[in-house]
């Protein structure tokens, strides 16, 4: 880090190589598009480089970078309007009575299904879209905590350190965020 602050750009390239995989993956989980995810990750890396001098050194550089990237990706996801076309005459388009537990069981069945099955792929993509929209539709601070924990794969300690919140507060926000997420998913899939 000192080398980067001294003007060594190659040192920063090594940081990019180390952190870009997790960063792009987290952004892709939020945005659902590879090009958009790379754009968000690039913006996060440039922002981190620009503000590297203001980094307080609390926690790892990867955790700090991940928070920047998740915030940028969430902001971009909030700007987009996801339009989902549904055929009202298609089977299963009407209201169903699937409870969350059944839905989770279906999800596990989808996960264990062969990847080549087009129907399974379609259902998985639809489920991913629902989850993505539900997470990005959460109010703050639940959205950031849930996204950092499940999309950024950050630990609660890392989230607490990066957001300057007590660990108990982060746990409470994560639990409330998941509860809101459950309500939102039940509303979309009654």
């Amino acid at each position: 880090m000192r080398a980067v602050l001294d003007g060594d750009r190659e040192a920063y390239r090594r940081l990019v190589e180390r952190e870009s995989v997790a960063l792009v993956r987290a952004c892709h989980r939020i945005l659902g598009d590879r090009a958009d995810a790379e754009d968000a990750a690039q913006e996060a890396l440039v922002t981190a480089y620009r503000q590297l001098a203001s980094w307080r050194g609390e926690g790892t550089f990867g955790a700090w970078l991940m928070r920047i990237g998740v915030r940028i990706a969430l902001r971009q996801a909030g700007k987009r309007r996801t339009v989902t076309w549904r055929d009202p005459l298609a089977p299963g388009a009407g209201p169903s009575t699937v409870d969350p537990i059944t839905s989770a069981a279906d999800q596990s069945a989808i996960d264990s299904a062969p990847l080549a099955d087009p129907a399974i792929l379609s259902m998985r993509a639809e489920r991913a879209t629902e989850l993505r929209a539900a997470v990005t539709g959460l109010p703050e601070p639940y959205r950031e905590v849930v996204a950092l924990r499940f999309f950024g794969e950050a630990t609660l300690d890392e989230i607490a350190r990066q957001t300057d919140r007590p660990i108990g507060t982060v746990k409470t926000q994560l639990r409330r965020g998941l509860a809101r997420l459950r309500n939102e998913l039940e509303r979309d899939d009654p």
């Binding site: 190589e17 990750a41 890396l45 990867g62 459950r182």
Partner: protein, 245 residues
């Protein structure tokens, strides 16, 4: 974050209370759902991603330590923000943040300049205290006189109505009128001069009243001012002329 695929632990939702454990049953399912979704979304960056990032980083100025440059660093930051604001190909949010920094610096400079101008103005004003108050007081002094003339005419009529003291002089003139019958018999033209002189010689008349009633008739035509002393002499002259004739 460092180890990919970290399993979600239900204890992450419990902050020590049993109520939280009871309420987290459904939330754990959602968490598992999210975890499965994250596991399925494993996208690696493209090959040229790092080069892209480093090309973008090359356009950025090297990071500076905060506060190292002082005013120079602040100026450089504003300059970078200005360049970032008008450079194309950047997200609107980044350019908006840079523009906000530029505007903030402009407002800060403007307010600082205004405060400096006001301060200098006050310092200059404090160096000239006698000049500044004087013109401010003179117009205030010129305003009150305008109502005062309105008051003075209202006062002047009352003294004009009070010339009662002049009426008091007429009684003093009455004794002269009492003496006029002898003057009327002696000659004409003494009325006008006698009236004015009676007011001035009232005291002398009073002193002369006890004994010189007849001598007033002879003194009226010639000696107006020194009537008191001449009156005592004339009676003595008239007997002489009588004696001569």
């Amino acid at each position: 974050m460092s180890d990919f695929g970290r399993r979600f632990d239900p204890s992450e939702l419990q902050d020590g209370g049993d109520a939280a454990a009871d309420a987290s049953g459904a939330e754990i399912l959602v968490a598992r759902d999210l975890e499965a979704f994250a596991r399925s979304e494993s996208v690696a960056p493209s090959v040229e991603f790092e080069d892209r990032v480093m090309a973008a980083v090359a356009l950025e100025p090297p990071p500076r330590t905060v506060g190292a440059g002082g005013v120079a660093g602040l100026v450089a930051a504003v300059r970078d923000a200005w360049r970032l604001t008008w450079s194309g190909g950047r997200p609107l949010a980044v350019r908006a943040q840079a523009l906000a920094l530029v505007l903030l610096a402009a407002v800060a400079m403007g307010s600082l300049g205004a405060v400096a101008v006001v301060g200098v103005g006050r310092i200059l004003a404090s160096n000239e205290p006698p000049v500044a108050p004087a013109p401010s007081l003179t117009p205030r002094a010129s305003l009150p006189p305008s109502p005062s003339p309105a008051v003075s005419p209202s006062i002047s009529p009352t003294p004009s109505a009070s010339p009662t003291p002049t009426l008091d002089t007429t009684p003093t003139a009455e004794p002269t009128q009492a003496g006029r019958p002898p003057s009327d018999s002696s000659g004409s033209g003494s009325g006008s001069g006698g009236d004015s002189e009676n007011s001035g010689s009232g005291s002398s008349d009073e002193s002369s009243e006890p004994g010189s009633d007849s001598s007033d008739d002879s003194s009226e035509p010639g000696s107006d001012s020194g009537s008191g002393s001449s009156e005592t002499q004339r009676p003595s002259q008239t007997p002489e002329s009588d004696g001569d004739s």
